[in-house]
């Protein structure tokens, strides 16, 4: 089954076309990298899959369910069971590491079981169990990236989206986190749609690389 399927998806902002008839299918469990130059529509596509933007035309299917069509979200973002690592990480400054995960687990639809235990397990998985009571500003850059990753995975989503999560990191930390992402993917088996403009990053993460240009899929 296709985890993500976009049919003729278009999106315009203030008369400027961001996506133009995009067709894309991603099989369940795959690691797909969306690559291309800045401004080619990668982030817009990701936000449409997440439900944070509504397409002007076309349909979006997730795990076989139609979740969006022209000018309308059929399923709101919070109901889609998707994890997203934001480019700016979007960590909540007033919450500790543990509170980030408790929050994500509390409202997740897919997962069941003891929230505290699950948060602890997730913290161990991303090696943040020593930092549970720290707030984001007290974490290093790599720890902040891992927290964003842990939060995206806390609800046990079947689809995880990552929007240039490793940009602005030094080479050593980037290599370390690439390994982490691959390890977590192997362990949890989610479908990964990963946006980057870094070719090396794309080569390491993706089992399939999709290139975008000027709002369309180039190859």
């Amino acid at each position: 089954m296709n985890a993500v399927e976009l049919q003729q998806v278009s999106k315009t902002f203030d008369g400027r076309s961001a996506l133009n008839g995009v067709i894309l299918s991603i099989e369940e469990g795959m690691r797909v990298v969306l690559s291309g130059p800045s401004g080619c529509g990668k982030t817009t596509l990701l936000r449409i899959v997440a439900g944070l933007e509504v397409p002007d035309a076309g349909t979006v299917h997730l795990m076989g369910r139609c979740v969006a069509q022209a000018h309308r979200n059929l399923i709101e973002p919070e109901e889609r069971g998707i994890g997203l690592v934001f480019q700016d990480l979007a960590l909540w400054p007033h919450m500790t590491v543990a509170q980030h995960l408790h929050f994500a687990i509390r409202y997740s639809h897919s997962a069941a079981g003891d929230a505290a235990q699950r948060a602890q397990r997730m913290l161990k998985l991303v090696q943040l169990d020593d930092c549970a009571n720290l707030k984001p500003h007290a974490l290093s850059g790599g720890q902040q990236q891992r927290l964003a990753l842990a939060r995206a995975l806390a609800g046990e989503p079947r689809i995880v989206l990552m929007d240039e999560p490793l940009s602005n990191l030094d080479a050593e930390l980037k290599a370390h986190l690439q390994t982490e992402i691959l390890r977590l993917h192997a362990l949890l088996g989610f479908t990964l749609l990963y946006v980057t403009h870094d070719r090396e990053d794309a080569a390491v993460i993706g089992t399939r690389i999709v290139t975008m240009r000027a709002g369309t899929i180039a190859q």
Binding site: P77, E78, R80, I82, F103, H109, A154
Partner: protein, 532 residues
């Protein structure tokens, strides 16, 4: 689900419409309806001799124009000095110079009157002819302009400070590579802040246009008094409404002009992320002269009038009598202001959210509506509220203190809305998006993510709303329930027959509460900053 969000935001906007817009519509409708028939007879009667209004209209425009001009000149200089330079004691000066904004302007008129009285603070310092000349000029245009400019100048000063601190420092750095600081200020910094500064001057003009209490005290007849006279002296409600309409049209016209030419530019500026590393202009050899100039303005505008109030109030019976005659109003005022501030904070936060997140297509209309209601003269709003609610079906509500809370909601939602919108503009939408993708419904996102992220501004909005509710005179003067007037109205009415020492003591009571609230705000904001 998107429905709860939309319904909640709609409810907040509906409250603003019911509290503020419907009264104005009812007032307009009341002015063109006689015995159920639509007619302009009231207007014909009221404006039969337009010449009798010409002088008061001229006085109003002169007062508002000169007030705006002086407030703009002083507020701009002070805003730049306090918000952009390394002036010593700038925090203390900023707080001190903002104090007049947090009290009813008529208190400043009382204090200047005390200052220039025969036995006032200046009587032993100035020769008799000079004192007499100053005292005579207080009662007229110069006095009204001085009082209104000192009361409203902080608006220009604060907005200038805020706008200068929200500029992108990279733009100034780019200029500094080729120009010195005066050149950068002149060609880059001030032109970028210009829309916000013009907006501030416009607000001052509109607030001065609607002022009644100061001109009444200083015996300078202005047009808004006509509404009050028709209502309070002749009990002619339709005529009061008809005389209020030109003021409403003037305010609406200027708000439309603001929306047309400044709209996006001021909004973008005030909602921008404040640069943590805003650039500071070194004053170098100008530090001492700049401190002296700022000190002289603070002394003349704030310390001298306050000292005059204190001097007059120092009488064996002043405070005791003030307490005896105003204690009930004081408690009542605090209660009204508390309820009003809470309602304003909630409504303003939701309207601010709607504006900051462009949550509906008509966010711009909400922004314009709150601004319009803020600048509508209090007496006009009061007449509107009476027109809407003074009916047998709504008699219970009309006779209750809820009318005062409605008046606050009508007038001050712009303050809490703009504070919230600016704060929410600085909270990245991705924080909320992340919570949404975690599955959190809108109320949970609001409670756990949005409100905590903007908490200092929520606290600030509540306290600013409390202070403005506590200082309100115009609308509350017309709508308070019998025997339950708030403190500023009680003081104003006591002026007719109360002793100067008692009046001054009562004014100081009101100032003390406002200063205490400002101190609490500063402490809370410092505590919240430390917790982060």
């Amino acid at each position: 689900m998107i429905l709860p969000r939309r319904l909640t935001l709609l409810a907040a906007v509906a409250i603003v419409i019911i509290a503020g817009l419907l009264p104005l519509v009812a007032m307009l409708s009341g002015s063109v309806t006689v015995d159920g028939a639509i007619t302009l007879s009231v207007y014909r009667k009221v404006f039969a001799g337009p010449a009798r209004y010409l002088s008061s209209v001229g006085h109003t425009l002169a007062l508002a124009g000169l007030t705006a001009l002086i407030a703009l000149s002083l507020g701009l200089v002070l805003g730049v000095l306090l918000g952009k330079t390394d002036l010593p004691l700038r925090c203390a000066f900023a707080v001190l110079l903002a104090v007049p904004l947090f009290m009813p302007p008529y208190i400043l008129a009382v204090s200047w009157s005390d200052l220039l009285a025969r036995n006032g603070l200046l009587s032993s310092l100035l020769p008799e002819p000079v004192l007499r000349a100053l005292s005579e000029s207080l009662y007229g245009l110069p006095g009204c302009v001085s009082v209104m400019a000192s009361a409203l100048m902080p608006i220009v000063m604060i907005i200038t400070m805020l706008s200068l601190r929200t500029l992108n420092p990279r733009l100034e750095e780019a200029s500094r590579l080729s120009a010195n600081w005066p050149g950068t200020l002149r060609h880059v910094t001030l032109p970028l802040a210009e829309p916000a500064i013009i907006f501030a001057a416009l607000i001052v003009f509109l607030l001065a246009v609607g002022e009644v209490a100061v001109p009444m005290l200083l015996r300078y007849p202005v047009y808004p008094m006509a509404t009050l006279v028709q209502f309070a002296a002749f009990y002619d409600f339709a005529a009061a409404a008809a005389t209020a309409v030109p003021l409403l049209l003037l305010v609406a016209l200027l708000v439309i002009v603001e929306r047309r030419y400044l709209r996006d530019r001021t909004h973008r500026l005030l909602a921008a992320t404040p640069g943590k590393t805003w650039l500071r202009v070194p004053l170098r050899g100008w530090r001492i002269p700049a401190v002296l100039i700022t000190g002289v303005i603070a002394f003349a505008f704030v310390l001298l009038p306050m000292a005059a109030l204190l001097h007059t109030s120092l009488n064996p019976t002043g405070y005791a009598e003030a307490w005896r005659r105003t204690a009930d109003s004081l408690i009542r005022s605090a209660l009204y202001a508390g309820v009003g501030a809470t309602a304003l904070t909630a409504v303003g936060f939701l309207c601010g959210y709607l504006i900051a997140r462009r949550a509906t297509r008509w966010w711009r209309a909400v922004d314009t509506l709150t601004l319009l209601l803020f600048t509508v003269p209090g007496t006009v709003m009061g007449v509107g509220l009476i027109a809407l609610w003074n009916h047998s079906a709504t008699g219970l509500l009309y006779a209750s203190s809820a009318m005062i809370v409605l008046a606050y909601l009508a007038q001050y939602s712009a303050l809490t809305t703009r504070i919230s919108a600016a704060a929410l503009g600085r909270v990245p939408t991705s924080l909320e998006d992340a919570a949404q993708l975690s599955g959190a419904p809108w109320f949970a996102r609001l409670r756990y993510i949005v409100v905590p992220s903007a908490l200092p501004s929520v606290v600030a909005a509540w306290i600013v709303a409390f202070i403005f509710c506590l200082r309100d005179v115009g609308a509350s003067m017309l709508v308070y329930p019998a025997g339950a007037e708030p403190l500023p109205v009680r003081i104003f009415t006591l002026m007719a027959n109360g002793s100067p020492s008692m009046i001054s003591a009562a004014c100081l009571e009101l100032i003390a509460i406002n200063l205490a609230m400002l101190a609490i705000l500063a402490a809370l904001l410092r505590m919240l900053a430390r917790r982060r």
